[in-house]
């Protein structure tokens, strides 16, 4: 498939089942809501080393938050419920409880509930109080700036992580510029996050390594400097590859984000330096969800 002189490879992105939650963080103003959210989603690019993949999903106005203050919604994804619970509690305690004026609320409904402020309340040393308001329990923890307000639990849902596509371009700057444009468009899609720095990964990985201690290593097939020495996927003119990884609450959310991202890049045309769009997979044997690039683009009318 070729869209606007950019080739869409006949391949697929391979994604995995994950557990996810959404938290709404509010504060006195957006500046401090972002401080809380940036801290909470820091060091959360990949489950390989961070435990969770997390990111800011959306910015919320005063009318969209439970307490009528500006805020942001944050999505967190983990490979299992236990890790997700541990990471959520740790990040809430160190990043949100500590952030001036910040408050935290459940952002997703589910029968499965995980602790948000349930254990953080003990920081109140007996001075904490709860309020049950319209069937939701909130904790008020006295802190030095006033009170930290936090809902007791939030929902946990089944989700998908690892949707992706690769941008193959004639230069590093071209690949990155295209990735930036795609990320800006994809940020508008609800229920997804792109957890890597700026939403973009330059170090895509393959499973395994020549070193016994490593279970993931550089994706040499897409490394432009190894074109001559490895079983490369890259043609002669490709000098740089950037990857965008997407975690989402369901298959369609990720597919929509991929479609929007790829469409935006294709609209840039051949002059952008982008030659091909591909995707990362492990032969289809590891992840149950396959995002076939050409099918996704055809579904969007390409």
């Amino acid at each position: 498939m070729i869209i606007n002189n950019i080739q869409i490879d006949d391949t697929f992105a391979e994604a995995f089942n994950m557990r996810a939650t959404r938290v709404i963080l509010t504060a006195q103003n957006l500046k401090w809501a972002y401080h809380a959210a940036n801290a909470m989603t820091g060091f959360a690019t990949s489950v390989i080393g961070c435990g969770v993949e997390a990111g800011i999903e959306d910015e919320l106005s005063e009318t969209e938050t439970p307490d009528g203050r500006p805020g942001v919604s944050v999505l967190l994804f983990a490979m299992g419920s236990k890790v997700l619970m541990q990471q959520l509690e740790t990040r809430m305690g160190q990043c949100v409880l500590t952030c001036p004026t910040a408050a935290a609320f459940a952002g997703i409904n589910s029968e499965d509930q995980i602790n948000l402020g349930k254990n953080l309340r003990f920081f109140g040393d007996g001075f904490q109080t709860s309020k049950l308001i319209t069937d939701k329990r909130y904790w008020r923890v006295p802190v030095m700036d006033g009170e930290f307000l936090c809902e007791e639990t939030t929902g946990m849902v089944r989700a998908i992580g690892g949707g992706n596509f690769l941008i193959l371009a004639t230069s590093q700057s071209s690949a990155l510029a295209a990735a930036e444009v795609a990320i800006e468009a994809m940020k508008k899609i609800p229920n997804v996050i792109m957890p890597f720095p700026g939403g973009v990964v330059r170090s895509g990985s393959k499973v395994g390594s020549k070193y016994k201690t490593m279970f993931a290593s550089t994706n040499d097939a897409f490394c432009p400097t190894l074109k001559g020495v490895t079983n490369s996927e890259l043609s002669a003119e490709i000098e740089s590859v950037m990857e965008i990884v997407i975690d989402g609450l369901c298959f369609d959310d990720i597919a929509s984000a991929m479609r929007v991202g790829i469409t935006t890049i294709c609209q840039l045309g051949e002059s952008s330096g982008v030659k091909r769009i591909s995707a990362g997979n492990y032969g289809g044997k590891l992840g149950p969800h396959h995002f076939k690039l050409q099918e996704i683009m055809q579904a969007g009318g390409a």
Partner: protein
């Protein structure tokens, strides 16, 4: 189709227990069946049709509404134990209105006697007039009062409103008597008018939300002026009520904590304009 209506047809010398007259209890019963039900009247019993003129259509399920007209303070236990449906009462009612209320809605357009919302668990109880002592309290032998739901009183409440209240919301647009929120375990009581002496006496947890400065007793400790964000959530929960409380918006409050006499961590919040 007219709704099932009970119109009190005579002045009663003694209180009668009306706990049997609930939507769930009457669902599926014909008018003659309802008329033959017996209501306890002290040591004797009275047929329903000896007390009430019954009109309207029988109800088919427990979610429907029953009307009481021309009721008096001799009618005790109206709306007791109901978990669904609603009661609409024109006139005064006796004690224990909404006793053990566990869902549904009761709207009393008159005054009620003591122990309204006693042992209440869930639902909505609205009293347009005044109510007596121990609003939302516990019945004899109980160590907890109201455990959930919402009570809205447009008039005044007697002494000991919310005594031993464990959970839920009581809103009083008028005045509250002495010992408001006494022995309160948790929950929220809002009072727009004056409260009597010893507000929050022996309270353990919970919130007394006041608009007029109370005569705070010595064991409630002044913690100063604060802006409390949780109040915005509380006010939002008031917004669906037909009440002056739905107009509250100020999160600025003076806070007293206590009752220190029982090592309590309850609070009196005086809303600042």
């Amino acid at each position: 189709m007219s709704t099932l209506t009970f119109r009190l047809k005579k002045d009663l010398a003694h209180s009668i227990n009306c706990a049997a007259l609930t939507p769930e209890n009457l669902a599926g019963k014909s008018i003659p069946d309802i008329a033959s039900l017996m209501l306890s009247n002290g040591r004797s019993e009275l047929r329903v049709d000896a007390v009430f003129e019954i009109s309207g259509q029988p109800i088919t399920h427990g979610l429907q509404t029953i009307h009481f007209k021309d009721s008096s303070c001799k009618l005790d236990y109206l709306g007791a134990h109901i978990t669904s449906g609603s009661l609409d009462i024109t006139g005064d009612v006796g004690a224990y209105l909404g006793f053990n209320l566990n869902g549904g809605t009761i709207h009393c357009h008159g005054n009620s006697s003591a122990f309204a919302a006693c042992n209440m668990v869930k639902g909505l109880l609205m009293i347009d007039g005044n109510t007596g002592e121990f609003l939302g309290g516990g019945s004899a032998g109980q160590r907890k009062g109201m455990r959930g739901g919402t009570v809205l009183v447009k008039g005044n409440a007697g002494d000991r409103a919310g005594d031993q209240m464990r959970r839920g919301l009581i809103l009083i647009e008028g005045n509250a008597g002495d010992y408001c929120g006494s022995r309160m375990i948790a929950g929220t009581i809002g009072v727009m008018g004056n409260v009597g002496m010893y507000a929050g006496f022996n309270m353990k947890h919970g919130t007394l939300l006041l608009l007029k400065k109370p005569a705070v007793h010595a064991t409630m400790q002044d913690c100063g002026m604060h802006t409390l964000p949780f109040l915005s959530l509380l006010y939002q929960s008031f917004s669906k009520l037909d009440s002056q409380f739905s107009r509250l918006h100020s999160q600025r409050v003076q806070r007293w904590v206590g009752d220190a006499a029982c090592n309590g961590n309850g609070e009196i919040l005086l809303i600042s304009a």
